[in-house]
């Protein structure tokens, strides 16, 4: 509220501020906020992040503590909201602690691979020529490496630290971003403002990482969001196969893997982590879509607004 008052004060101070149209980021933010799917997704994702990272304050149990006196308790039993698993570990606690690892991996892999991909793609696209050829052939080679195999190899050689998992997933998922950014830069480097920037003596590195990166930031942001979802899925898949997170640490994928053995005793064991993965990945993808729509000036009309228009037309023709 105080912000609103302040804004009004500023705009009444100078006539010109009233006339000033909103900046490109403001327009995008407004579009994004109006997208119900994206906004709900933001809250879902925030909920998961907050709950996972405040796990120690929310639950009194240790996720790895085995308690044979209370195994396979059903949901809503006393002290265990979602029950316990075959070793008597509290499932809710394990879901929360798993969320920490899955989300950390999701976001850090997305961040790392977007950074690597952007740098490689930008340099490749901007300079072109032999630099482009070398880097893009390297991308092709990386694409053809089987992720699973690489993962097993690294696990076998270096052990199963959680950080290695992030590194492997990052190193095997940056190529898409690199190609995207390269394509964008190939187009952007021909723009006259690039020549104009050179004409005032802006060095190459500043043209690449300042002038051009700002112009291609939209597809990169969208891609980064979508990457979070796919990283969480890859982590789950690897952990499910027993190649990712190892006990006593836990992740949603690993919980799924454990649950498989006890499907017949307690089928809910598989449902909880599965639903978590589903919700988070769905949320992230909706956010990505929302961003894409908000950031793309030529984007399609908003789904809800389109629905309303259609409804208006329909009711008119009916009446």
């Amino acid at each position: 509220m105080s912000e609103l008052i302040e804004q009004e004060k500023v705009s009444s101070d100078s006539q010109a501020d009233l006339r000033k149209p909103p900046g490109p980021w403001k327009i995008a933010a407004r579009k994004f906020v109006r997208n119900p799917y994206a906004m709900v997704s933001v809250f879902v994702l925030l909920f998961f992040i907050v709950v996972s990272f405040s796990a120690p304050y929310l639950t009194p149990y240790d996720p790895a503590k085995i308690d044979f006196s209370s195994t396979n308790l059903p949901a809503f039993s006393e002290g265990h909201l979602l029950g316990t698993d075959e070793l008597g570990r509290d499932i809710l606690t394990r879901i929360l602690y798993s969320g920490r690892i899955s989300l950390t991996i999701g976001f850090s892999v997305a961040l790392a691979s977007v950074i690597i991909g952007t740098v490689v793609g930008a340099i490749s696209g901007y300079f072109g020529g032999w630099i482009d050829t070398v880097l893009m052939r390297f991308v092709d080679v990386m694409y053809s490496l089987p992720t699973l195999f690489l993962n097993i190899l690294v696990l076998a050689i270096f052990g199963n630290e959680f950080i290695y998992m992030i590194l492997i997933l990052s190193f095997t998922s940056w190529m898409g971003v690199a190609r995207l950014v390269r394509g964008n830069f190939l187009q952007l480097r021909e723009m006259q403002y690039v020549e104009a920037a050179r004409a005032i003596g802006v060095p190459n590195r500043s043209i690449i990482f300042n002038h051009l990166l700002r112009n291609s930031i939209h597809p990169i942001i969208v891609n980064a969001t979508l990457m979070v979802g796919s990283a969480i899925l890859s982590e789950s898949a690897l952990s499910y196969l027993g190649l990712g997170i190892q006990a006593p640490q836990t992740s949603w994928g690993l919980m799924l893997s454990n649950a498989q053995e006890f499907m017949l005793i307690n089928k809910w064991l598989a449902v909880y982590p599965g639903v978590c993965i589903l919700l988070v990945v769905l949320a992230v993808n909706f956010i990505g879509d929302g961003l894409q729509q908000a950031l793309n000036p030529r984007g399609k009309k908003h789904p809800v607004r389109r629905l309303n228009e259609w409804r208006k037309k329909f009711s008119k023709s009916a009446a």
Binding site: Y193, A196, A197, A199, G201, R214
Partner: protein
């Protein structure tokens, strides 16, 4: 009109293609004194822009090379400098204005950011100082309410305003040489007149030299001290604005002047045109490059390329009609 700011001798620049080296600018020699305006005129594809890009050494970024010749700017040879060294000169001592102001500005940066950048690179100003300076510069190039404009994006400004911004960027470091590559082509006529006047005023104020590239003889007559006429990569005639307009000697120059509506011909008569089109770089004719389109072409023109012939101290032309005997006969 004291010392030479820019001296180009025998500059040959062009592009390497499948057909071999294409000389977009062939053996160009030009001089520019302090405070002087030199107009390079010629039709599209005559090598005007390539020449300007070569001076800035920007031609290398578009895949071109400088094959031969010297470019001496304030006593410094530019052709042998590295791109890093050129970076210190570009924007600082030599600045450039582009044809289409809308596309010469980066759409995602504010006007202020773009003006401040040059100041931050070359004068080491802080962001705040540079922004203050940017506001002053915007006021200087005649943009009303500069404090508001600095925070706006290029798409919020009109074409004429954008060109003023581009000029402000070019003038930020008070360059000694301003290269203006068709600065008014993308603007309508009234705005064009305003921009030209602005350039003239700023030139008088800062005492810089201007190399103005244009295909508009009207613009050239208004702005130039001297004019160089280019055709198919060579300079065919060079002289003061009076030499060119009062005594055009090369048939191409004469053709250009006759093609201006209402310049020589009466209203209602058919507009004069130079027959044919400019030859492609890969298919230059032998001898004089203009001979297929020249009304005075002789056998000699088809075989031999004419060198520059000095008609007076300031006036030179490259046409066989003006070798020594011809000159005597003509007078």
């Amino acid at each position: 009109m004291a010392e030479k700011v820019l001296e180009i001798r025998g500059l040959t620049a062009g592009f390497v293609s499948d057909k071999g080296f294409l000389k977009a600018a062939d053996n160009i020699s030009l001089e520019l004194k302090r405070g002087e305006t030199l107009c390079v005129v010629g039709e599209s594809g005559s090598g005007k822009s390539v020449t300007s890009m070569a001076i800035m050494r920007l031609i290398e970024y578009s895949g071109g090379i400088i094959a031969d010749g010297n470019i001496v700017f304030q006593g410094e040879e530019l052709t042998t400098k590295s791109q890093e060294e050129m970076g210190k000169i570009r924007g600082n001592k030599i600045a450039m204005i582009f044809q289409d102001p809308m596309s010469a500005l980066n759409p995602v940066f504010t006007i202020g950011d773009q003006i401040a950048e040059s100041l931050m690179i070359h004068q080491g100003l802080s962001k705040q100082e540079a922004m203050q300076e940017a506001i002053k510069l915007l006021g200087h190039v005649g943009i009303p309410a500069p404090e508001i404009r600095v925070k706006q994006y290029p798409h919020e400004l009109s074409g004429g305003m954008c060109q003023r911004v581009v000029i402000a960027i070019a003038l930020a470091c008070k360059p000694d040489l301003l290269i203006a590559d068709e600065p008014t082509t993308a603007l309508d006529v009234t705005v064009q007149a305003q921009i030209l006047e602005l350039l003239r005023n700023l030139q008088a104020e800062f005492g810089m030299s201007i190399l103005l590239i244009t295909h508009d003889m009207g613009v050239a007559s208004e702005m130039a001290d001297r004019i160089a006429v280019m055709y198919a990569g060579t300079i065919v005639e060079e002289g003061t604005v009076f030499d060119i307009f009062d005594h055009p000697s090369h048939p191409y120059t004469q053709g250009l002047l006759n093609s201006i509506p209402g310049y020589e011909t009466a209203r209602g008569t058919e507009l004069y045109t130079i027959k044919g089109t400019i030859p492609r770089l890969g298919e230059l004719p032998s001898g004089c490059r203009f001979h297929p389109r020249c009304p005075h072409a002789t056998e000699k023109c088809k075989l031999l390329e004419p060198g520059a012939i000095q008609l007076s101290d300031t006036h030179r032309t490259a046409c066989w009609r003006y070798n020594e005997e011809a000159e005597v006969m003509n007078r």
